[in-house]
Each structure stands twice: as C-alpha cells, then as structure tokens.
Amino acid sequence: MKISFTLNGKKIRVDVPPDRRVLDLLREDLSLTGTKEGCGTGECGACTILVNGESRLSCLMLAAQLEGCHVTTIEGVSSAKKLHPVQEAFIEHGAVQCGFCTPGAVLAAIDLLQRNAEPTRQDIREALSGNLCRCTGYQKIVDAVQGGSAKLKKGQTS
C-alpha cells in the first residue's frame, strides 16, 4: 500500500506491505538505523520516534498509521553542522554509555521539553519512565535533560 507522510521535514511517499511495522520501514527500507529495536513489545523505548511531536513506539505501529503525519527520528533532530541542545547535554553529562537507549531517550526528552520547558527531576523521571537504560543508572540522563532544558532556555534568550 502507498502511504505519504513527512519524515524529518521532507515529504515522502513509500509503498509498503500492510503489515510493515514503522520500525522496519525506518531501519530496513529507509536505512534510518538510529531508531533501535530493544524489546519489540513496547517496554523499552529504544524505538521511540515523534509523531506530530508526541513520543510513540515505532515497534507497535504499522506503517499505514503514519499517513499524513509529521515524523521525527533521531536523524532529524540535529542539523548537518550542529547537534540538538539535548544531544549536546547528553554528551556533556556523560549520559551515554553503550548508546542503545540514547536515541529514544533524547526524543522522549525533546517531547517533554516541548510541553514543559522547565521540568523538575520528578517530571523528567516520569516522562522518561518508558525508556529503559541498562548502563547509566538514570541519574546522568536526568542531569542531561535538565542541562538540555537550560541550554534551550539560553538559546531562546540570546
């Protein structure tokens, strides 16, 4: 079936089998391998993408559900020259170890910061409660999201 949607700012049209998961469409058909598959059953958040700005799990979506939507993957949050402030903050705070959870965590953080520019640590923990990390123990991820929030605020005022 043919579907059209906006992917990282570009309109695209693809022909996919009706049972194609969004995760497979992105990784295999479109070679956007930044989106990861951890569990495949909605529990780890590694496959998080933004659909119309809201975090969704690409392992639990069928490609047809993207029709007409605006989709952002981790590849779409930075520009060629510059990382997204949240990505910078993840690096500065040492919130990345193996990196498998990072794309999903960064997108969940961006979703949160769009709705709540100055989240408390508790807000951050709640917003990222669907993103499991086997390496960092979460403290540094929470630090990084706070750092990202500060950077975004500074970016706006300067």
Binding site: D19, E54, L60, A127, L128, S129, G130
Partner: protein, 263 residues
C-alpha cells in the same frame, strides 16, 4: 480492527495472522475527544489515554478515571493506547476498567445501521472476551457526573511504578457524611478474578456504617468470597488475596477525617 495497536501488535508478534485485513480506527475524528451533553459526557473510544488525562472534563468530573489513566503503562503507551482498546481487550488488569465500573459506564456500540447501548459490566464477560458482534465497533463511553461522591479513590499495586501491569487494584467512589457515615459506596477491584469484581454485597454491608478500620475489616469475609485470584508470573493468588483486602483498608488514607471522628 485496531485503534492504538498497543495490544494488537504485541499479540500479532506472537501469532501472526494471514491474510492481513486490518482496519485502523485511530484516525476517525468522530471517535475521538470528550463531548458534554444533557445526557452526560461522551468519550470517543479512540481517544488516547494521554488526551483524556489532559482533558478538563475528565480531570474534574471523573478524577477516579484520571487516576487510573495516570498509571497506565508509560508515556508513549499513553500517547498511543486508547480507552476503547483497553475496554475491548477486556483484561482483568486493564487500568481504566475498575474506574469505569464504579462510574457505571454505558458503552455505545455501533454497526453500519444500528446503535445499541450496554453497561460495561454486561459487556465484558471474561478475560479477553466481550460482547462485540461481527461488524460492530465500540464508538464511545457514556458517563454521568455524580457530584454527590466526595471520595474518589484509585490504587494500583504493581511491581514497580512505570510499565507495571497491576497485581491488584481498587477503585472506589464514596459519599461519606460529615460525621463519617458511608452513605453511598461503589467499589471495583482489578486483577483479582477473570473480570473486574464489583461486589454489591460488600457495598451494601458498608452502607450506613462509620468509615473505620473496623467497618472495613468486617466485610473482608464477603470480599474473600467475591474474588478468585490466580497465580501468575506477577504474583501468587494468596498474595493477591491479601493485597485485595489491604488496599480496601487504604481507603482510610483518602478519608479527610481522623479515625474516631464523631464518636
């Protein structure tokens, strides 16, 4: 047929079905959102949990439902999953179900040329089983605002805070008089039997009594008879039995007056 796909896609992964005639209801506008009418509030079946959580009608008129939605899954699951999907999945652990039972939710079922209404307790008949005929969809949920209730209680016991399927849960609506007498009470337990348990004899036994630990202890035998928990990977039946009783006692924590008030 599916809406958010959060139950269906997990199931399809285990048992792929072929051929694949799937209809997604998720983008039909008429099935989304909350509308108020003289008959009550109508919640579109394909409203996501997150959209209901941020809806003022749900938050202020039906806090017990909002409390259930708040602990369902994780943020992305709440963005994707729908209330209609939670009802049709008919899991005894479905977090919106006990609140909908105590609110006496009435479901609107539609097919191409007919509309019918059915109470949620008559719609759900077993784990994963509901009275939906071929060609029918759940269009939405009717709720009546009942400002009489002054305690809106929801508690879910799981193994951790996020992404935990409940081991047992309790939803309760009570009208307690200023002197602490239970004038009206609705109770519904999740995860302690094949379907939600809303025992009218327990409710009747509480009515007219002072809300105290003593009163709640007295209905424990009735409660034990009403539930039939199972052993599974999350908890043993014996543990669930204990928790089902203990969470009833925790009602006292949401009661604004101290024990012994008025006596």
């Amino acid at each position: 047929m599916y809406a958010g796909g959060t139950d269906l896609l997990v199931r399809l992964r285990k048992n792929p079905v072929n051929p694949f005639p799937l209809v997604c209801l998720g983008q039909i506008k008429e099935l989304k959102g909350v509308r108020e009418s003289p008959e009550g509030a109508f919640i579109g079946a394909c409203s996501s949990h997150a959209s209901l959580l941020s809806n003022p009608i749900i938050r202020y008129a039906f806090p017990v439902l909002a409390k259930g939605l708040q602990v369902l899954g994780s943020p992305p699951i709440r963005n994707m999953g729908t209330i209609g999907g939670n009802i049709c999945t008919a899991s005894p652990a479905g977090d919106t179900l006990p609140p909908l039972y105590v609110l006496d939710a009435v479901l609107e079922i539609r097919s191409q040329n007919a509309v019918r209404r059915i109470a949620i307790k008559d719609f759900i008949v077993g784990p994963g089983q509901q009275r939906l005929n071929k060609g029918e969809i759940l269009a939405g949920i009717w709720l009546k605002n009942d400002p009489d209730f002054n305690i809106h209680h929801f508690e879910k016991v799981g193994q951790r805070n996020a992404l935990a399927i409940s081991v047992a849960s309790l939803s309760a609506l009570l009208k307690v008089s200023e002197s602490g007498i239970i004038e009206r009470v609705r109770l519904a337990w999740g995860s302690v039997a094949p379907t939600i348990v809303s025992p009218t004899n327990v409710e009747a036994a509480l009515k007219g009594h002072f809300l105290s630990k003593d009163t709640l202890q007295k209905v424990m035998p009735l409660l034990r008879e009403a539930i039939s928990p199972i052993d599974d990977i999350r908890a043993t039946a014996a543990y669930r039995r204990t928790v089902a009783g203990n969470i009833l006692l925790r009602l006292l924590a949401s009661f604004p007056y101290k024990e012994g008030y008025g006596t």
